[in-house]
Symmetry: C2
Subunit: 239 residues, 2 copies
DNA sequence: CCTTTAATAGTCGCAGTGACTATTAAAGGG
DNA sequence: CCCTTTAATAGTCACTGCGACTATTAAAGG
């Protein structure tokens, strides 16, 4: 950071790229936009855009999140910096350094094209193919991070509406991890973790279907999960 | 990432900043350089420098690491991206976006001034005061990250020489966490984790002092720690 | 040789959790 | 109105991992 004058430095363009996740129809979906121009015209990409001269990357990311999802209030949504991608050739036109973010949405409002994107669409994660630039790798990194953070944080509630049942919360884990969790054990674990969820007093109900109505909960104040809620080991890792 | 031409974008300078840690005399030390010019002339700062037009940030970080430590081979050292700091006013001269890295060194070769730093010095973490720019925050973030990663990765061996005793490994945890760990329990945990360490067959010894010589171990192939080795809860977190 | 120092070995009890079984409370069809 | 279906909720049991602790072993140094 010393001696700026002693070095010639190339100017970089700095962008943010967003991996925006939501759960829809029991599947993990990610928000993609279709590129209108070269390079990669017609290909799908992560939403994103340039960081403006007077804003930090975090604000740029939240601004883009609002533009791309069409949501009027994105202030409460979970947004977290992932890492920065800086390979010199990641954009064929110029040197672009991109700060990647992951965002989690409770439900999926229909996407609308942002001002700088031809079309925006929620896409099931498993059917994503061949994204533009290095966005495939960014998306994979984001997905892995989300899966890992479910283990030791209360992040799962970020996928849920303000009030939710334990069954819905369990489905978040099952969907993201691609596993099935034991219902009573999950319940025990969640309720035994102080601050993870808090019961909504008016013993309300909600189930759309037939069975016994479930109690409603809100996200609690806790942010970390000690001890963690580990995903079942599909072999490989020691238990 | 679409429509570059539709937007005016300011060019940014992109730098890397490094929080380089080592253990010395039973204390966590960090490598600092003294700034030679304004702003913050005479203040201590994290080593770092500009990313060159043809290199990714990771290579810039490793290059700086070699320059600042004076080590001839930094290829094996642990270097990991922390996050990116992009507040518009973090550098009073211009818009500088900095990708921060954390590096871990086994022992502390005496620092030498890099080409662009007046002086470089290993400083005990606890006596660091008032760094230039936002480096105080970067350093704090890096320290927290290192402490947290000791829990669920095999990172601790990055602080050790190629061959080390379990006592030395335990001291890594004790120093970084500022706690005392039970010797037998630590031993049991480490040896029970496959791939964490592997015994050096020639039951060599090494202790400098008086007691029974300890067996030597090398870092194993494992990278993650399942289940994790949690730091003692000094109250606050649920157990 | 005897003391000191630290590594190594082993024991006990509790908390957390995986795997299960049982019960309760509703919806919906006959 | 009853009876089946569905899902939430309650509870049991055994095993594992770990904190706390005690005992033993193997060297160094006077």
């Amino acid at each position: 950071m010393d001696g700026y004058d002693k070095y010639a430095f190339e100017p970089f363009a700095v962008t943010v790229d967003l991996a925006v996740f939501t759960l829809r129809a029991g599947a993990l979906h990610v928000l993609l936009v279709e590129r209108g121009q070269e390079p990669y015209a017609g290909r799908w990409a992560l939403p994103g855009g340039f960081v403006r001269p007077d804003e930090p990357a975090e604000r740029a990311a939240r601004r883009e999140l609002g533009e791309e999802t069409g949501l009027t209030d994105v202030s409460g949504l979970h947004l977290e910096q992932l890492r920065t991608y800086s390979e010199p050739d990641r954009d064929p036109r110029m040197r672009v350094v991109s700060v990647a973010f992951a965002a989690l949405l409770p439900d999926a409002p229909e996407a609308r094209g942002g001002s700088d994107a031809a079309r925006a669409r929620w896409t099931p994660y498993d059917s994503v193919r061949e994204l533009a630039f290095d966005h495939g790798r960014i998306l994979a990194d984001a997905r892995e991070r989300v899966g890992a953070k479910l283990e030791y944080t209360c992040l799962a509630t970020a996928f849920c509406p303000p009030e939710f049942t334990l069954g819905e919360l369990r489905q978040v884990y099952e969907t993201v991890w691609g596993t099935v969790l034991d219902r009573p054990n999950f319940r025990r674990k969640v309720l035994a973790t102080p601050g993870f969820v808090e019961a909504v007093p008016g013993a309300a109900r909600l189930t759309g279907g037939r069975g016994k109505p479930a109690a409603l909960y809100r996200a609690g104040a806790a942010t970390a999960l000690h001890p963690p809620l580990l995903r079942p080991t599909p072999e490989g890792r020691p238990a």
